[in-house]
Symmetry: C2
Subunit: 137 residues, 2 copies
DNA sequence: CTTGACCCTATACAAAGGTACAGGGTTCAC
DNA sequence: GTGAACCCTGTACCTTTGTATAGGGTCAAG
């Protein structure tokens, strides 16, 4: 799969793919005889993962860490090339940190949503003062 | 309150305050006779609000919209200067959109956190294979 | 009446995350 | 064998969200 095909399937543009490669989020792919990047399904999945992470508020740097984390877990399953204990501890620590961050963010978002919901109710009372829903609903 | 006092109380630097003013997130404050910006408690609260919004993933542009929203709701309470119906509808619509965004984001974050938790468990099994907690815990 | 700690404007720079363009090679169909 | 549609590298540029710096005015203490 050449770069434009990957871009099309992943829904992002060619420049961004090369940018991700420079940032170390995508591997340096093998090249065809004429020097064209040759991608596979794995690269597409990687981009899908990156695009999933971003709206969650992870920076590309953090996504890179998550990819390492994922690789470490995958290695457990494949039962070879397990990381050294120290490295593993670092990854676990990072994962805990990310989890705590996520939970905190969830809490804040819930509170924000609650406040927003209250605000909407107030606004709607104002918007339709004639039809008071509390009377018959 | 001069700008450095506000900066200190709000926990952000002077340049950022002027930047927010340029972006329309803070009002253009009245000036002293020598041209110094004169702030009050309202400005401090505004900054507190901005800083609360940011970790929730709102851009400054969105925060600006939320401020409009908040102003609209505040006007309801003070029972004067209520916005025209059309404007009010627009604000309600925006609020609904934001609420939907928030709920979606919460869902994604929960799913992400779940996956992370699973990953951590797997890693910990690997990290301490000798002490298997499922045996006695 | 000078010195230090403020304030002002304007402009430049920074990091993140892309996006576009210039200048040039490759491939394939006609 | 030439034109369109690809690909390459390198570099420049854009937006967001600030931070820093230059050049200069203000104010209060000593």
């Amino acid at each position: 799969m050449l770069i434009s095909e990957l871009a099309k399937q992943a829904g992002l543009n060619i420049q961004s793919i090369r940018f991700y490669e420079r940032q170390g989020l995508l591997r340096k792919p093998p090249r065809t005889s004429s020097g064209y990047r040759a991608y596979n399904q794995f690269d597409l999945e990687r981009i899908t993962f990156i695009k999933w992470c971003q709206p969650l508020g992870f920076t590309l740097k953090e996504v890179k860490e998550l990819i390492q984390l994922h690789a470490a877990v995958a290695n457990l399953s494949s039962a070879h090339a397990a990381p050294k204990p120290k490295e593993l501890q670092r990854i676990i620590c990072m994962a805990h940190q990310k989890s705590a961050d996520l939970q905190n963010k969830i809490k804040l978002l819930k509170s924000a949503d609650h406040q927003l919901t209250v605000a909407i109710k107030k606004l709607q009372t104002q918007a339709c003062p004639a039809s008071n829903p509390s009377r018959r609903a």
